[in-house]
């Protein structure tokens, strides 16, 4: 997780449970309220799953939410765990995406 937060622009990395929106593990800057990030990420994942199901029967493996002042990346690990990173918009999003995928695979 420290490797994830080592990516320039990343302010926090968490392992969350998408079932209940709780933090399982975290490495984040002090001003990041990881409990809020976990709860809201879980809610986004649940909504994304429902939207994806309307398109096809497969479930999301990755979710990328980008807003004006920040971004949340989430990659599915072994259910119900998701690896989540919070980044500033100027972060290296492509590198972060690949790194999270690698680490999510290693969570199993």
């Amino acid at each position: 997780m420290r490797e994830v937060t080592g990516v320039p622009g990343v302010v926090g990395a968490l392992i969350i449970s998408s079932d209940d929106g709780l933090v399982v593990a975290e490495s984040a800057m002090e001003d990041l309220v990881t409990a809020n990030v976990a709860a809201l990420s879980a809610a986004l994942i649940a909504r994304a799953t429902r939207a994806a199901a309307a398109v096809n029967p497969s479930v999301p493996t990755t979710m990328q939410f980008v807003a004006e002042r920040g971004a949340i990346f989430a990659v599915a690990g072994p259910a119900p765990l998701w690896l989540v990173a919070v980044a500033r918009p100027d972060a290296e999003l492509g590198r972060l995406r690949l790194l999270l995928r690698d680490f999510a695979g290693a969570l199993g």
Binding site: L44, A51, A54, V55, M63, V66
Partner: protein, 249 residues
């Protein structure tokens, strides 16, 4: 009908042996006889998508593209996920040199059957025929086959689609929930204005982005679509959607 069965024809357990017979006749080039068999079968089984698909293939072989399209659309009404009908519609579009329509039908087929080698190969061939740039895809919001859907935050579909009407309405309803959730997350985490949310699944790439304060757009493409291209197409479609909304006013 048993007196006209060809040698080796398999009798279908549900009485659908006419499918096998019609296909054999079609392959032999006996199109009139094949069509008669297919139409007779459809008289008994009008809700069987494979029967409409068979008729579509026969009509296409006869050079009756309008008849083929009609049959394949009927197949999709029976079974919105029917791959053969999608491939057929793509074939007719390709023959008419309507490459975007051919590609869209193949993309929908690829989403339903992401490991179907024939679909993926056809998709590769059709893509090779046109320049590969992000601007090459003209957004067609009114076309329900484009995989582009504009909806309001009450979950009402405004235009576009997701392959069939029911799926599009479901996606609009679910999309509205997703749009609201992104707005809530952005507000509570002080992230500012929502730009987009992208979802990757083993068989599809999906992007949601706000168009106006009251509307959002969802694009879905096959899993092989690079995420950068997906987002570029989404932005392109959002611009078209804003123009469409202005015209509606």
């Amino acid at each position: 009908m048993t007196d006209v069965l060809l040698p080796g024809t398999i009798v279908h357990p549900h009485g659908l042996a006419f499918l096998e017979l019609g296909e054999r006749l079609r392959q032999r080039g006996q199109f009139a006889a094949a069509a008669a068999v297919a139409l007779a079968g459809l008289g008994h089984y009008p809700a069987v998508a494979d029967a409409h698909d068979l008729l579509g293939r026969i009509r296409a072989d006869q050079g009756d593209d309008a008849g083929a399209v009609s049959a394949w659309r009927a197949a999709l009404e029976c079974d919105p996920a029917h791959i053969g009908a999608r491939k057929g519609l793509a074939f007719v579009a390709f023959r008419a040199r309507d490459f975007p329509a051919a590609e869209r039908n193949l993309e929908i087929a690829a989403m339903r059957a992401p490991h179907d080698a024939t679909v993926l190969a056809a998709l590769d061939r059709i893509r090779a025929l046109r320049p590969s740039s992000i601007a090459d895809e003209t957004p067609r919001l009114a076309d329900s086959m484009t995989g582009t859907l504009l909806y309001d935050l009450q979950g009402m579909r405004l235009t576009g689609g997701a392959g069939d009407e029911a799926a599009a309405d479901t996606l609009a309803a679910e999309g509205a929930g997703l749009s609201r959730e992104t707005a809530r997350a952005a507000r509570l985490l002080d992230l500012g204005e929502v730009r987009y949310l992208a979802i990757e699944t083993p068989s599809a790439m999906i992007a949601m982005l706000p168009v106006t304060t009251e509307t959002s757009l969802i694009l879905h493409r096959p899993a092989a679509t690079p995420i950068g291209r997906l987002l570029a197409q989404a932005e392109h479609a959002a611009q078209a959607a804003r123009h469409w909304l202005e015209q509606m006013r």
